[in-house]
């Protein structure tokens, strides 16, 4: 019997709510099949299965919240017989494998004892309050914020989901700022050659297939990272853990608010056209709320581009346990001196936030230099 | 085991001392008979280990000790406490669990204590008192005091490591301690020869280089003389081990159905009973009349009646005081 368990879809995920099964008992599944939709604090995610076999039993029911590692379904492996050969006419044995106990907090709204006491004193209704503590418990700070009248109840719909995402972002970013000693570097990169090349390329293409500067930047980041394993991977158990592939998380702001950074896999290996397609698809699905589990859990580095909003440069916060995040500001003409000539050329400021436990500023500076160099030869991307 | 003949022959003691020893034994006997009765009535609870049959050891030994000496005893210590000067009233009240008891009702039968009498208990761990006695003797030696420490224990204790460690320390440091072993042949229900490879207890002590003595524990005169010699040796030379061969007439405790020994054996030992053999010898040599005996017996009985009345009238410590005496109040 194979157990299919609730996957971890990010370092900050403790549990997930099963929204929907895409398989039923008797279905044959293989590696990579999408079998379920799970809601995490960040998004509804299509969950892939990594085992092969026949679905024997769907243990978790839609609507149920299951802790990470909790059993969702039982599978029969290809080699296993349908049922264990039972003694004829034997009385049915009680099944020892009980259903997993409901996750803590699945049915109960968690409120810390201190928060409960404080809420009584301040007259705050804790049952309606989103929590930021362990397992989403309401803490004293949550109560105090509520007492200050911070979020209005009739805020954007659906409030609890939004609040949950805000909470998840808060937790991840707090952890990042608490644990990761960030260093920040930035470099202005002339983009004349890249812009010219892009214009030339797009002239030859139908509108639907046009390339964006963002794809060029992503590809350049991925290629540059090949020589910087200390910027691509994770910091776990007090040690650098370089990632075997370069899966770039793309920061996507959501219309209803909040932010998500799913991965495009093996960016360095993708052609620009493939990358462009992947990027467009990812943004569409992220906003539709149908991401795959591996996209949520796999980023090895993150890129954020706030140029559209007009900022000159971004000084981003690393998403733990990743090692670095690269930011791009707006592409705008600026005075630039080259070969003794001064002129206005399109320039972008690329920035890097690195985890100082894993790498030093010297390495980060060399990475930015490599990135700048790659962007001077767009045809090679 | 072959039962030796009853103690006989002339009692070579001053008459007054002989009568006092007889009175001592009678007091223990009558008190404990009453205890057994009260246990049946539910007035005394817990473990109750009676000394009946062994009275000659406590009686003979206590009168050989000085008032400044320390006493360490076992859970079968009613007689030792009584003869050491703890009043029967306070012993009985203790067994009743009353505040007026010699341990305030906190100890019970197995934990009789009295600071004024230098009576250090009442230890219900077999062998537990032996290292304590060595330490009391060490303190006396370091403080250059003349007191000795007398430690009573049963032969069951010789199987414990504490016995051997204490023998070694006492002899190694030449401590003023007398180890009085009351060999009543049974450690609860296990006979000596069923539990010891070496049944000669003196040989065990002698293996540590310690002086040893042996006496018939059913003969109060022999016990007394031996205990005197022992105290003299301790006070002048060093520790001593004395084996008193005795016998317990009643069960180990009130829970004991006595499956391990023969009724015939008990009856044969009763022939050697310390009270009737000693009074018979005193009568034979003209030191005791039946009238005098009855007088002593009536006095003992009166003391018991008074003690029971005292215990009955005793008060119960309020439960609010429960935490008292765990540590010294600051």
């Amino acid at each position: 019997m194979i157990e299919f368990k609730m996957p971890s879809l990010g370092a900050d995920m403790d549990e997930g709510k099963l929204l929907e099964w895409k398989v039923k008992p008797g279905d044959t599944v293989k590696r990579g099949d999408l079998v379920a939709v799970v809601e995490t604090p960040k998004a509804a995610v299509d969950v892939e299965i990594w085992q092969e076999g026949v679905i024997e039993e769907l243990v978790a029911k839609p609507g149920e919240t299951v802790p990470v590692g909790g059993v969702l379904a039982h599978l029969r492996g290809a080699a296993e017989p349908k049922e264990a050969p039972a003694k004829p006419a034997a009385e049915p044995e009680p099944r020892p494998e009980a259903k997993p106990a409901p996750a803590p907090g699945a049915t109960r709204h968690l409120v810390s004892p201190a928060a409960r006491k404080h809420a009584r004193e301040l007259g705050v209704d804790v049952e309606q309050l989103p929590g930021s503590g362990p397992h989403g418990a309401v803490t004293v700070e949550d109560v105090e914020n509520a007492a200050k009248g911070a979020p209005k109840k009739e805020a954007a719909p659906p409030p609890d989901k939004l609040a949950a995402m805000r909470k998840a972002i808060a937790a991840a970013m707090s952890r990042s700022k608490r644990e990761i000693p960030h260093y920040y570097l930035s470099q202005a990169i002339p983009m004349q050659r890249a812009a010219d090349w892009l214009t030339a390329q797009n002239e030859k293409r139908p509108v639907a297939d046009r390339l964006l500067m963002g794809a060029l930047q992503l590809k350049a980041v991925a290629l540059a990272l090949k020589d910087f394993p200390d910027l691509n991977g994770f910091w776990r158990d007090n040690a650098l853990q370089p990632a075997p592939g370069i899966h770039v998380g793309v920061a996507i702001s959501l219309r209803q608010g909040g932010l998500i950074a799913p991965a495009i896999h093996d960016v360095a290996e993708l052609g620009l056209d493939e990358l462009m397609k992947a990027l467009a698809d990812l943004v569409r699905r992220a906003r539709a709320g149908s991401l795959r589990s591996s996209e949520m859990s796999d980023p090895t580095v993150t890129v954020t581009n706030l140029g559209d909003q007009g900022v000159d440069a971004v000084f981003p916060v690393i998403y733990p346990p990743q090692l670095a995040i690269v930011g791009f500001g707006r592409l705008a003409p600026r005075p630039w001196a080259e070969d003794g000539m001064t002129g206005a050329v399109p320039v972008v400021v690329a920035s890097l936030a690195g985890d100082h436990r894993a790498s030093d500023g010297h390495r980060g500076a060399r990475f930015l230099a490599a990135l700048a160099a790659l962007l001077q030869e767009p045809e090679k991307l | 085991m072959k039962v030796p003949p009853p103690p006989s022959g002339k009692v070579e003691l001053p008459v007054a001392l002989s009568l006092a020893l007889l009175a001592d034994m009678l007091r223990i006997r009558r008190m404990e008979e009453k205890c057994a009765e009260l246990y049946g009535e539910g007035k005394i609870r817990g473990f109750l280990h009676l000394y009946i049959g062994e009275e000659a050891v406590a009686a003979g030994a206590m009168r050989a000790l000085a008032p400044e000496d320390n006493i360490v005893a076992t859970y079968r210590e009613h007689g030792h406490a009584l003869l050491r000067g703890v009043s029967m009233d306070r012993i009985m009240a203790e067994m009743y669990g009353k505040r007026e008891g010699c341990s305030g009702g906190r100890g019970g039968s197995m934990h009789l204590f009295d600071a004024a009498a230098r009576f250090y208990g009442g230890n219900a761990i077999v062998g537990g008192g032996l290292p304590l006695a060595a330490g009391l003797a060490l303190a006396a030696k370091l403080k250059k005091e003349s007191r000795i420490t007398a430690c009573f224990f049963g032969e069951g204790a010789v199987a414990e490591g504490a016995f051997h460690e204490s023998m070694n320390l006492a002899q190694l440091w030449r401590l003023p301690v007398a180890y009085f072993c009351e060999n009543n042949l049974y450690a609860m229900g296990t006979a000596l020869e069923r539990s010891e490879s070496q049944t000669d207890l003196c040989a065990k002590a002698a293996s540590y280089g310690m002086a040893t003595l042996k006496a018939d524990g059913m003969d109060v005169a022999a016990v007394h003389k031996t205990a005197q010699r022992a105290r003299e040796h301790v006070a002048t030379k060093g520790p001593v081990f004395v084996e008193f061969q005795t016998y317990r007439f009643r069960a180990h405790s009130m829970f004991d159905p006595e499956l391990y020994r023969d009724k015939g054996e008990v009856e044969a030992w009763k022939e050697r009973g310390p009270l009737h053999t000693f009074s018979a010898r005193l009568k034979a040599q003209g030191d005791l009349t039946e009238g005098r005996f009855l007088e002593l017996d009536r006095a003992a009985q009166a003391e018991v009646d008074k003690a029971v009345a005292f215990a009955e009238a005793g008060t119960r410590e309020p439960a609010e005081d429960l935490a008292k005496d765990v540590t010294t109040p600051s």
């Binding site: 810390s112 004892p113 201190a114 928060a115 409960r116 006491k117 929590g131 930021s132 503590g133 362990p134 397992h135 989403g136 418990a137 803490t139 004293v140 808060a170 937790a171 707090s174 952890r175 608490r178 007090n238 | 360490v72 008891g101 010699c102 341990s103 305030g104 009702g105 906190r106 100890g107 934990h111 204590f113 009295d114 600071a115 250090y120 208990g121 009442g122 230890n123 761990i125 537990g128 290292p131 304590l132 060595a134 330490g135 009391l136 060490l138 303190a139 006396a140 370091l142 403080k143 420490t149 490591g161 504490a162 460690e165 204490s166 070694n168 320390l169 190694l172 005496d325 540590t327 010294t328």
Partner: protein, 317 residues
Amino acid sequence: MSAISYREALRLALDEALEKDERVFLMGEDVGRYGGTYAVSKGLLEKYGSERVRDTPLSELGFVGAGIGAALGGMRPIVEVMTVNFSLLALDQIVNTAALLRHMSGGQFSVPLVVRMATGAGRQLAAQHSHSLEGWYAHIPGIRIVAPATVEDARGMLGAALADPDPVLVFEYPALFETKGEASGGKVDIASSKVRREGSRVTLVTYGGCLPKAMQAAEQVDGEVIDLRVLRPLDMAPVVGSLKKTRRAVVVDEGWRSGGLAAEVMARIMEQAFYELDAPVARVCSEEVPVPYAKHLEEAALPQTEKIVAAAQGLFA
């Protein structure tokens, strides 16, 4: 005032105690000629003679019992049981006699005995020489358990223990023997726990050999560190006070987790500070294995700074 080592502080304390009170004597295995297994009593035999610095046979039950007797007889014995591991051989005398005598005698006999022993792991001494059993002893009413974790306490606690009319067990930490600090020689109490570092985010409650680890962890998590100092009777007031500020606690205890002292501290937090909490109380204890010999395994078995940091961070979402 110059810094001295924890070991020197222990020796100084013994020297002062022997100097000050004729009734005090030191007794134990190899305390005299050998100078103490950890060289704590080095030089004292020459200064005070073999009556007062008394070598004993390997006879823990016997000489601890003799210490009790000597205390009853008016002396102020300091009995050294080489290590807590060997104290198990004397457990009967400590638990059945020393701890109970005052109570059983209805308050007539106090036992002014001090028993010192080394405790704890961390020196690759393997399973039989690495126990941390303070929690066992702290279970017993009638004895006071103290755990000096600073040089000041290493010097001061012995005097306070000798002044106590009841038995006191002093646990000394070889893991700390080379730590340096100042020892004023002033009186210290053996009744209170103390804040060793102020912090605002999480309360780290510990004692003995784990104190330096907790202090290091506190640097990383803005922790407030409380050194229990006295394991029986426990002084919870500073812990409760600190929780009012931090609302989160990690208890750090080298003893095993199950039924340990950490569990007791946590239970008291539940009893006394439940409504101050914003997160479940966490603990970092030794893993539930006998302490292994191999260095990396021993380290893995014991509380470490990183484990404390992780436990503290786990109290935040």
